[in-house]
């Protein structure tokens, strides 16, 4: 069996220098994945102008994007169907999914999720929001030290939709953006939601 410890063919882990360089290589490889890939992703432009396009949220739900709407295709549909848009600096996150409960329950679930985030507080009571097609939803305003916004939920024909609008600054949404979003969300259409 010869020298069972076989020191004749050293491995790089046998010396401090080898372990040091090997450890640096592991560190470098991990950082290349954790930081390098996101950096590369951010360097490649993926912004698409969607102004005036009808945005499909899936399950037969769609709405017309307002003026100034862009989407980063690299960030889209990360969590099983969430669509994220940028409307003149405001972030609009919209999701449609099969849903069997009421709009109040859906609003309650989003309330809970927002309240769990540090600094976010819900302001006032829920109000009603109606689309042009007459589908009634619920709207609730929230504030945090760094942003302000609201969410609207609809439950119609077995599909639940939630749209969370948040400003990127603490001053909230400007008037023009607010109005454009109001008009755009009123175009929400529910088609073929039941098979």
């Amino acid at each position: 069996m010869g020298d069972r410890f076989d020191r004749s063919r050293p491995l790089f882990t046998d010396t401090f220098t080898g372990r040091f360089l090997g450890s640096l290589a592991v560190l470098g490889a991990v950082l290349a994945i954790v930081a390098g890939l996101p950096l590369l992703n951010s360097m490649i432009p993926g912004i698409v102008d969607l102004s005036g396009n009808r945005i499909d949220l899936g399950h037969g739900v769609s709405f017309v994007a307002p003026e100034g709407t862009t989407r980063d295709v690299g960030r889209d549909r990360l969590l099983g169907g969430k669509t994220e848009l940028n409307v003149n600096g405001a972030i609009v996150a919209a999701t449609a999914r099969p849903y069997d409960d009421t709009d109040a329950a859906l609003a309650g679930a989003i309330d809970g999720e927002l309240k769990a985030q540090p600094g976010i507080q819900l302001a006032g009571e829920e109000t009603v929001f109606t689309t042009r097609d007459g589908v009634v939803g619920l709207r609730h305003v929230f504030r945090s030290p760094s942003s302000e916004g609201y969410f609207i939920v609809f439950v119609h024909e077995g599909v639940g939709v939630d749209v969370i609008v948040s400003s990127s600054t603490r001053r909230g949404l400007d008037e023009v953006t607010y109005d454009r979003l109001e008009d755009a969300l009123a175009t929400m259409r529910f088609e073929g939601s039941r098979p």
């Binding site: 592991v26 560190l27 991990v30 994945i33 954790v34 930081a35 490649i44 960030r75 549909r77 679930a109």
Partner: protein
């Protein structure tokens, strides 16, 4: 897989693996601490938003790890890995690799969406980005273990074990994340239902052929390349690249949309597709592990063989080291006289086997061990003397570790001598119980095992047949017969298919399709 250096014992006088002077430990700390911070914040958020669902998920998936840990520690029978190093491997998987995969996976998705198309990324990114990113990150954990404690990676089996623990850590944390995300996605508030669904799908139906198995494969290959220094570099690198490649491909197949519609047969078809996509890689890894285990066991059996003319080990007992089945067979034979006497004999056999394994490992580490063993057998010291000597030498070594090689040799000799004395004591007890030799039963297996395997295979295709496979396998291992590995496989497959078909039936009945 036979050859000269497929097992590389820990050299005498090796440092402990936890050494703050080792740069690999610093790299682990640099990566693990921030990752733990970010993960901790995310988990805390889960518990604040969905306290009930998060608690159930945490408890459920913690319990899920228990059978894995038991099986992995049992597979690591011959030369046990240090628990601290195993815990570090688990942490790498659950913290560093998982958090790295979150960032890397998102970026990979974005790159695919930009470079190919958003539609392509929506369909295929799960089968391209995560398998590459996650398998590489987890394999890097095994490399770090080698850098931290190369002396502890003695055989290919060790790599399988460290890889499996890294994969298990990743799997459990990821499953927890999926369970809470499912609750959030359900938008039904803090409910347990989505957690249970996640547990059934990711725990029962796909838990066996997931990250644990993928990373075990990569880990085994890295250990193979580390231990087999005599082989050409090209072959060693090729083995590692091939194994990581197979792990990535198996992961990609699992994540791909292929067969996701279950051949159009709804829930039942989906369950069948899960088996088709997952079972082959599990069987491949099991086969390769068995090869590696046999190589390691043969090496340690050869170490013991030199003592087969002493009361330490009888020639009939040598084969018991080769497999769990043989060891269990010997225990069952000792247990044949029912009652307390049989139970005591079985316990003594278990202890004897454990001590013999330890002696084999010690003999492989210390070239002078055979001499120490023979002198001890000829004139055994008392246990009390050994204990006092061990304590004395231990204190001396702790005080002046680096300048006391002769004392360290004394401690090693003392360790070997204590092992010999313990074996002689266990042997004396067995003789007292009328069972002097802990040999396995000569009847190796039941003729019913092929039938059990056949029924288990049919159980994949036909609902309900799995139950007959379980019953046949149980009958095949009754009495003093050893629980043959094939019988265990038939039982496991039978259970899995029965549970799988049950879930598919439940899903179909409840209208989930």
């Amino acid at each position: 897989m036979t050859g000269e250096h497929y097992v590389r014992p820990t050299p005498p006088g090796s440092r402990r693996w936890f050494d703050v002077r080792n740069p690999a430990l610093w790299v682990f700390a640099i990566l693990a601490l921030p990752a733990l911070w970010v993960l901790g914040k995310a988990v805390r958020n889960c518990f604040i938003t969905y306290p009930l669902a998060s608690t159930v998920a945490a408890v459920g998936f913690t319990l899920f790890t228990v059978p894995f840990v038991i099986v992995l520690r049992r597979l690591d029978y011959l030369e046990r890995e240090p628990p601290g190093l195993v815990a570090l491997a688990f942490t790498w998987g659950g913290v560093v690799a998982y958090m790295g995969a979150v960032y890397g996976g998102r970026a990979a998705h974005g790159l695919l969406a930009k470079l190919v198309s958003p539609e392509f990324a929506g369909t295929w990114s799960a089968a391209i980005g995560p398998p590459i990113v996650e398998e590489i990150l987890k394999a890097l954990g095994v490399v770090l273990v080698v850098l931290l404690a190369r002396e502890q990676v003695n055989s290919t089996v060790d790599g399988f074990v460290y890889g499996a623990f890294i994969g298990l850590g990743f799997q459990v944390v990821e499953d927890f994340g999926y369970a809470v995300t499912a609750t959030a996605w359900d938008r039904g508030g803090d409910q347990v239902g989505p957690v249970v669904s996640t547990f059934i799908v990711r725990g029962f139906l796909s838990g066996l052929w997931s990250h644990t198995v993928f990373t075990a494969l990569a880990g085994g290959a890295i250990a193979y390349a580390t231990v087999n220094r005599g082989l050409p570099m090209r072959r060693r690198v090729g083995v590692v690249a091939g194994a990581v490649g197979v792990a990535i491909l198996a992961h990609a197949l699992w994540n791909s949309p292929l067969l996701r519609d279950g051949f159009g047969f709804g829930g039942i078809g989906i369950v069948a597709a899960l088996f088709i996509k997952g079972l082959p890689v599990f069987l491949l890894v099991w086969y390769l592990f068995s090869l590696a285990y046999r190589t390691e066991a043969s090496f340690y059996r050869d170490q013991l063989k030199q003592y087969d003319d002493t009361p330490l080990v009888h020639p009939e007992e040598l084969d018991a080291l080769l497999s769990y089945r043989e060891r269990e067979s010997a225990r069952r034979l000792a247990q044949a006289p029912k009652g307390r006497r049989g139970a005591r004999a079985a316990r003594s056999v278990r202890r004897l086997q454990h001590l013999q394994t330890r002696l084999a490992v010690l003999s492989s580490r210390y070239p002078e061990a055979p001499e120490w063993v023979r002198s001890t057998v000829e004139k055994p010291p008392t246990r009390q003397w050994l204990a006092e000597e061990r304590k004395r030498l231990g204190n001396v070594l702790r005080a002046r570790e680096s300048t006391a090689p002769d004392r360290r040799d004394l401690l090693h000799r003392n360790t070997v001598r204590k092992c010999v004395v313990d074996i002689l004591a266990a042997r004396a007890q067995l003789e007292h119980l009328g069972h002097p030799v802990a040999a396995p039963t000569p009847q190796k297996s039941s003729p019913m095992i092929p039938y059990a395997l056949g029924l288990a295979g049919l159980g994949v295709l036909i609902p309900g047949v799995g139950v007959f496979a379980i019953v046949t396998a149980l009958l095949a291992t009754r009495g003093n017969l050893p629980s043959n590995g094939l019988a265990i496989a038939a039982m496991a497959l039978g259970t899995l298919t029965t549970v799988g078909w049950g879930i598919a039936f439940f899903l179909t009945q409840s209208g989930a399709g």
